[in-house]
C-alpha cells in the first residue's frame, strides 16, 4: 500500500502558499481540522480563498485565520457566528460568496467527481440566479452551477489508515468526504491513525485515493457551539 503518512500538521501544510484556494471540512465547529488550522496560523501567508460551510467563531476555527488577516475571500453558506468576520466584511477587507448549502455541497462533489456543471432548482427566481443560465427541464426551472475545486483540501476524520482511508464519526462527517475528493492535494488529520489493513474496508467512508497526506492530530478541543441539554 502507498504510505501517505506525514509527521504532523506543520509538515502537512508546509507548502501551502499565499493566495491559494483551500477547502476546509466542518459544519459549525464540528469536524473542523483543528490541527491544520493551528499550523496555518504559524505560517506567514495571506490572501487565502477558503471554501467552508461556515467561518468559525471569533476565537476558534477559521475565525482564528480571519483574525490574523490571512483570508481574502470566504465561500460559504452561513457565516453568522463571527463578529470579526462581520467587521472585516463591512470594512471591505474581506470578500464573501454566499451559496445555498446544497449547491455548495454539490459544487464540491462535482469538483471531485469531474462534473464541470449541473442544474439545481435552488435559488431560481432569487438573487443567487443573477448572471446564471436558467433552463427548463420537464416544466420546472433550474440554475446552472459550476464545480468547485481547490489547490488543497483539509479534512478531519475520526479514524484513518496509512493508505489514506478515512472513517468519520457522527455529524462531524458533513463536508469532509466531498472536500477530500475536490482538492488537488488533500490533507487528512485523524484522531486515530492505524496501519493499512486495520480498518474494515466495508466501513471506509472515504477511499485513500483522494488523500495525499495523513497524520494523527493531537489535543482535539472539539469545542461545542451551542451546548443544549435535555431538561
Amino acid at each position: 500500500m502507498i504510505n501517505k503518512t506525514v509527521k504532523n500538521a506543520q509538515e502537512a501544510v508546509a507548502d501551502i502558499p499565499s493566495n491559494c484556494m483551500l477547502m476546509m471540512g466542518g459544519f459549525g465547529l464540528s469536524g473542523i481540522p483543528e490541527n491544520c488550522i493551528k499550523a496555518l496560523l504559524e505560517k506567514e501567508i495571506s490572501g487565502l480563498t477558503i471554501v467552508s460551510n461556515n467561518a468559525g467563531v471569533d476565537d476558534f476555527g477559521i475565525g482564528l485565520l480571519l483574525k490574523k488577516r490571512m483570508v481574502k475571500k470566504m465561500i460559504s453558506s452561513y457565516v453568522g457566528e463571527n463578529a470579526e468576520f462581520e467587521r472585516q466584511l463591512l470594512n471591505g477587507e474581506l470578500e464573501v460568496d454566499l451559496i445555498p448549502q446544497g449547491t455548495l455541497a454539490e459544487r464540491v462533489r462535482a469538483g471531485g467527481a469531474g462534473i464541470p456543471a449541473f442544474f439545481t432548482p435552488a435559488g431560481v427566481g432569487t438573487e443567487v440566479a443573477e448572471g446564471k443560465e436558467v433552463r427548463e427541464f420537464d416544466g420546472k426551472l433550474y440554475l446552472m452551477e459550476r464545480w468547485l475545486r481547490a489547490d488543497f483540501s483539509i479534512v478531519k476524520a475520526w479514524k484513518g489508515d496509512t493508505a489514506g482511508n478515512l472513517i468519520f464519526k457522527g455529524t462531524a462527517r458533513n463536508f469532509n468526504p466531498i472536500m477530500a475528493a475536490a482538492g488537488k492535494i488533500c490533507i487528512a488529520e485523524v484522531e486515530e491513525l492505524v496501519p493499512a489493513g486495520e480498518l474494515d474496508p466495508n466501513q471506509v467512508h472515504t477511499p485513500g485515493i483522494y488523500v495525499q497526506r495523513i497524520f494523527q492530530g493531537v489535543d482535539y478541543e472539539k469545542r461545542i457551539e451551542h451546548r443544549t441539554i435535555s431538561k
Binding site: G28, Q101, T171, H226
Partner: protein, 219 residues
C-alpha cells in the same frame, strides 16, 4: 394570539405517520416537542443525519453530534449519517416529505423571504434555498405582523426572496392559512379570541374567506 409554543403545537397537527421531516431553526425546532408519540416520523438534519433524537443529558453530550442549528443532539435507534452532498441530494430529490421553516415575509403566490434584510449584516441562506426549491410540502411558522404592526403576508415580498411559489401553508400567531393555487391566502382557522376582521386588517395580501372560519383547537 398564539405563543411560539402554540404555533409549534398547531403545526405538529399537520404531521402524518411515516413522514421524513426537516425542521428549520427557531419555532420549527419546537415542533418536535408536540409530534404525537403514536406517529412514526423521522427528523432530518441537513448537516447529515436522519433520526434526530431529544437533546442530550449532560453525560450524553457528544461534540460530534449536532443539528443544523449547531446544538448538541442525540440519535434515535435506526438513525443514519451521511455527508452534506447526500443530505441535499435527498432534499432536492424530493425524498423529504415535509419542510417546516420560519419566514420574514410570504407573498400571496407562495414566495418566501427569510434570509436577508438589506442594510443589515447578511449571514447567509444556509440550506433554506435548497429546501424551499425542493420540498413537496412547505409549512411556514411566522408572526403575522412585524413588531411595528406591518403585515408580513403581502401581495409581493419586499425583501430578497429565498424561493418562489413554494409555500403551501402558514401558521401565524393569528391564523392558519393556505396559499391558493391561483394566488391568495385562504383563511382556514383563527387563533382563539382573534376575529376574522382582525386577520383581514392585518393581512396586506389578498385574503380569501369561505364561509365560517373555525377557531383552532388544542388538545
Amino acid at each position: 394570539m398564539l405563543t411560539k409554543e402554540q404555533i409549534a403545537q398547531r403545526i405538529a397537527k399537520e404531521v402524518k405517520n411515516g413522514q421524513y421531516i426537516n425542521l428549520g431553526i427557531g419555532i420549527p425546532t419546537l415542533v418536535a416537542n408536540y409530534i404525537p408519540k403514536h406517529l412514526d416520523v423521522v427528523l432530518q438534519s441537513e448537516n447529515g443525519l436522519l433520526g434526530i433524537g431529544p437533546f442530550p443529558t449532560e453525560d450524553q453530550v457528544d461534540p460530534d453530534l449536532i443539528n443544523a442549528g449547531k446544538q448538541t443532539i442525540t440519535m434515535v435507534p435506526g438513525s443514519a449519517i451521511f455527508n452534506s452532498a447526500e443530505s441535499f441530494a435527498m432534499i432536492r430529490g424530493g425524498h423529504v416529505h415535509l419542510t417546516i421553516l420560519g419566514a420574514m415575509e410570504v407573498s400571496e403566490n407562495g414566495d418566501i423571504a427569510n434570509w436577508k434584510i438589506p442594510g443589515k449584516m447578511v449571514k447567509g441562506m444556509g440550506g433554506a434555498m435548497d429546501l424551499v426549491a425542493s420540498a413537496k410540502n412547505i409549512i411556514v411558522a411566522m408572526q403575522h405582523c412585524s413588531k411595528d404592526g406591518q403585515s408580513k403576508l403581502l401581495p409581493e415580498c419586499s425583501l430578497p426572496i429565498t424561493g418562489i411559489k413554494c409555500v403551501k401553508k402558514i401558521v401565524s400567531d393569528l391564523a392558519v392559512l393556505e396559499i391558493a393555487p391561483e394566488g391568495g391566502f385562504i383563511l382556514k382557522e383563527r387563533a382563539p379570541g382573534v376575529s376574522v376582521e382582525e386577520i383581514k386588517s392585518k393581512t396586506a395580501g389578498k385574503l380569501i374567506i369561505y364561509g365560517e372560519i373555525p377557531e383552532m383547537t388544542f388538545d
